[in-house]
Symmetry: C2
Subunit: 567 residues, 2 copies
């Protein structure tokens, strides 16, 4: 069998070759699964060729049903890299360059090399300005997502008129009186659980309970508190080393947003006529809005983020809350429907006032176009979420397929992005995890074990830790259960223990993840978390009802059972 | 045989799915060559699913040895697109989504669709700000590259002291006295040839004859003229509807550049210490420079384009010559070694003062990372150049392989980029085409025929049209042959005829290119240029010594022989 050319893939300046830091380039290669015995990288400086070249073995870091993925870290002497791949089987030696394939031996460089500057692959120059460096604190953080209207009511004077009694199942129109003071009042609870960062759903003035239809980006919703309350919350959180991330709804605003109201009133004559995408004036709401919206929601007019005035307004908002109140990041709502240029400029503005701010996009898909270092630090990792559902709750895939999916995800992004991906098992936009688990807390615990031992940054949705459940919106947004008699205290202790485990073990927060391929099948998945210093943790998961024997990696010498779910 | 999964490729927001204009998304798919009989795209609005969906056949637009490439233009009603591919053979129907493959029939949508927002592919929103719109004039232009020191001496008073007599073979240190007045004096010659745009190698003050080591970006080299001469040149060119593009050497400067001289003198104390990448102070030139350079050239210190002061300085330079003198574009030297952020900002600055300015990067490789609409309009198309050499001058590949290579290049970029790629057969950085052809003017003519009938923008290197030859630099930079008795006037007439042909036929300037696969083999290549209005031109090339019979496309009704090379 000759090597399958059609499966081979590499592309410079992508997730297949990127600047990991200011001195290191990561080079990856994809080949057909099981097809190639060995891959080596010929690399050097094109201005000192061939004297500077080396032929270095690449490591097979991941595999899935279709492909093997190889990786090598290279530190070029002069920050520029010229390279080719040598793929070998027992029968064949195949060079792969940008120009194509050549069957030649190790000591015969590809003829393409005679036009080296054209035909080899190149990482032309490692410019510091292009290095994607997400904030360091994020990979150590434990996030907790709060839907403010439903977390805790700390100030009854702010309650909306139609407030309902705490507890029970909300409709889409319910108000329960949750507010910022309620969060402040419960910071001890969160600190005790081990939380080190909060993600709050929108808190700016808005008529709805979810507040994704902003009326005023510069005013805290009066039912939640005011700027002073937010400042108190941020300060009190910071006192506990807890960071605070807010929700930036910049794709669209609310119908009450003053510039939109002005367009409703003045049509084409409005000074804000170009702040939106209006198809024709005057504005009409029925039967369908005659302006772009989120989905077809008339109450969420899409903002024209290509308009310099809109940009200036929103960038001011983004920096205002960082500079005035000290928040630590922005989660960007519907991030993939906004233009890239807007996000690039937002990043510059935000990082200029707070280099360590975390910029997190809400994108449910492969997000490579936003994760090149010029836009977001990370995205909400819903592909991980759904892979966990498929393996642990739907059981629609087995251990092999789960490892395949996750492996594919792990090579999608640069390593430094994998390190800060925002991993979650549920949110205000999904049914709760326990609902997905059909109430089975063993599955729930296994999913949580996966979350807290996976690469990236875990986020817990408020109340999951005490056994809250609920289907799709609005059911997943029930008021937090504070009555201890209604809380699952054992589950809470379990979550606290997982958080403690992660916090105490660098191998769970940094380093790499490798599946033990031969132990990923049927009901089981086994993977190793390997710290940069070599310290290693093996995680073995058995979703089935019966015990199974698992062969752990043979190089584990001083083994210690750190944690166990079930018997 | 089942469909080869490993060969199937698609990625949203790449050359496989991009905004072609403000209403159209181009969707492409790659499958294994000859593997799939039919591809269809299921597409619609995710907020009106499945009512809004259609299943539309894709066209197989290109093929190479490994793959078939399919394409479809879609105009989504609401500027957002949710989609999946249906691949079919006689034996198999296979759905392909972002989540993977599913063997299901046409009337059974993939199960992944139950989590549609996650599992289908998406082009989330077609934002006008993200549309890549290169200047319209470029695809109609005929460029002519001038190396100013060698084109014509129009003002003997400006000659360098060491000036040599016009003609003969230069060394790396030769000066022949070419200048801007020489270009002005010969605009009639260029207009008569059919040229509509000039690309000038660097003209700013510099000690070398090539002037890639800039001493002063704000001053025309005194041996070439002054700002007033440049203005005269640009005005005189514009009077003839000829545009002028200059060479921007922003990756590095020259040793005489004042800020660098300041660092040489004052070391770490210099106000310009951070304008370069100095490894340690004081500056040393031997045995190797202790600062980053182009290659290892001590006389070309690399600029720190991540430094805001450097950016401001260079952006001022870039806009100054547009605003003050009216130039129409910049060719960016060593563009791939400069950081992407610099180029993004440069684009904004340049387009703000002249939206129609052409921004052309010197990159010899696959240039996708620079051609997403945020950086360059196009790159110098050296891959095309070398494919032509391989087929017509080296004869190292046959017609099949040539068509394969070109097909691969044509799917690399969005169609609007293909439309303005800067196609060339030689330059100051390569041996001359006639040298490559070993003096064989039949090969030369076939190469020129290819150049002028290919997609994108052709550029002629000065003097090629009168039969100039020369090997690698400095030999390819000989003084222009003006003595008519030494000029190949027949060749010049041939080139003028080709230019006239291209200028008169929209199908050669716009539209698409399709190879006639069954007629691309051995010594021959046949391709069709198809205008948007359906008008069609077939180009048949036979590099061999003997006549061959070629089957033209059967749907050509009113055939007319437009042009012939040889008998």
């Amino acid at each position: 069998m000759t090597i399958c050319r059609e499966a081979v893939h590499h592309k410079p300046k992508s997730n297949y070759a990127y600047a990991f830091d200011e001195t290191t380039v990561h080079v990856r290669l994809r080949t057909k699964h099981g097809d190639v015995d060995r891959c080596r990288l010929l690399h050097g400086d094109k201005f000192e060729w061939p004297e500077s070249t080396e032929l270095t073995p690449m490591e097979r870091v991941h595999s899935d049903a279709h492909y093997d993925y190889w990786q090598l870290a290279v530190e070029p002497d002069n920050r520029r890299l010229c390279y080719a791949f040598l793929l070998e089987t027992a029968d064949e030696a195949l060079w792969y360059t940008e120009w194509g394939f050549e069957s030649r031996a190790e000591n015969e460089l590809p003829t393409a090399g005679t036009d080296r500057s054209l035909h080899y692959f190149e990482y032309p120059f490692l410019n510091p300005a292009d290095v994607h460096e997400p904030p360091e604190w994020v990979s150590d953080a434990i996030f907790y997502q709060i839907f403010p209207e439903r977390f805790a009511n700390g100030d009854r004077e702010l309650d909306p008129e139609s407030v309902e009694a705490w507890g029970g199942r909300p409709t889409r129109e319910s108000f329960f009186g949750g507010d910022l003071q309620g969060i402040i009042d419960n910071l001890d609870y969160l600190e005790d659980l081990g939380i080190t960062a909060l993600y709050l759903n929108p808190i700016f003035e808005s008529s709805s309970n979810h507040k994704y239809n902003t009326a005023d980006y510069r005013r805290i919703d009066p039912h939640f508190g005011d700027e002073e309350t937010l400042r108190e919350l941020v300060d009190a959180a910071h006192d506990r080393d807890i960071r605070v991330m807010l929700d930036a709804v910049f794709n669209h605003c609310g119908r009450q947003f003053a510039p939109f109201q002005d367009v409703v009133e003045n049509g084409a004559d409005s000074a804000y006529a170009d702040w939106f995408h209006v198809h024709e004036f005057p504005i009409e709401f029925e039967p369908r809005p005659n302006y772009d919206t989120f989905g077809f929601e008339a109450y969420m007019p899409k903002l024209n983020t290509g308009n310099p005035e809109v940009k200036e307004y929103l960038f001011d908002v983004a920096t205002y809350w960082i500079e005035e109140v000290g928040i630590d990041g922005w989660r960007l709502d519907v991030a993939d429907e906004v233009d890239h240029q807007f996000w690039r400029e937002l990043r510059r503005e935000v990082k200029a006032v707070k280099p360590g701010a975390y910029i997190l996009g809400e994108i449910w898909h492969d997000s490579r176009p936003w994760l090149r270092g010029d836009q977001f630090d990370a995205v909400m990792n819903y592909p991980f979420t759904y892979a966990v559902y498929d393996f642990l709750t739907n059981e629609s895939i087995d251990g092999t397929e789960f490892a395949d999916k996750i492996s594919r995800f792990l090579v999608r992004y640069p390593e430094q992005v994998n390190q800060v991906l925002f991993n979650l098992l549920d949110s205000h936009d999904t049914p709760r995890l326990l609902h997905r688990c059909d109430g089975d807390k063993r599955s729930l615990r296994l999913a949580l074990l996966l979350l807290f031992t996976y690469r990236g940054t875990p986020c817990l949705y408020y109340g999951d830790e005490v056994g809250m459940t609920g289907g799709d919106d609005p059911d997943c947004r029930q008021p937090m259960v504070w009555d201890r008699s209604e809380q699952d205290r054992e589950l809470r202790a379990f979550v606290a223990e997982l958080i403690e485990l992660r916090s105490s073990l660098p191998a769970l927060r940094g380093g790499t993840l490798r599946f033990v391929d031969e132990e990923c099948h049927g009901d089981r998945v086994v993977y190793r978390r390997i710290a940069d210093d070599g310290d290693e943790i093996t995680v073995a998961i058995n979703r089935g009802p019966d015990p199974v024997d698992v062969s752990l990696p043979t190089d584990a010498r001083d083994r210690e059972l750190l944690f166990q779910v079930g018997d």
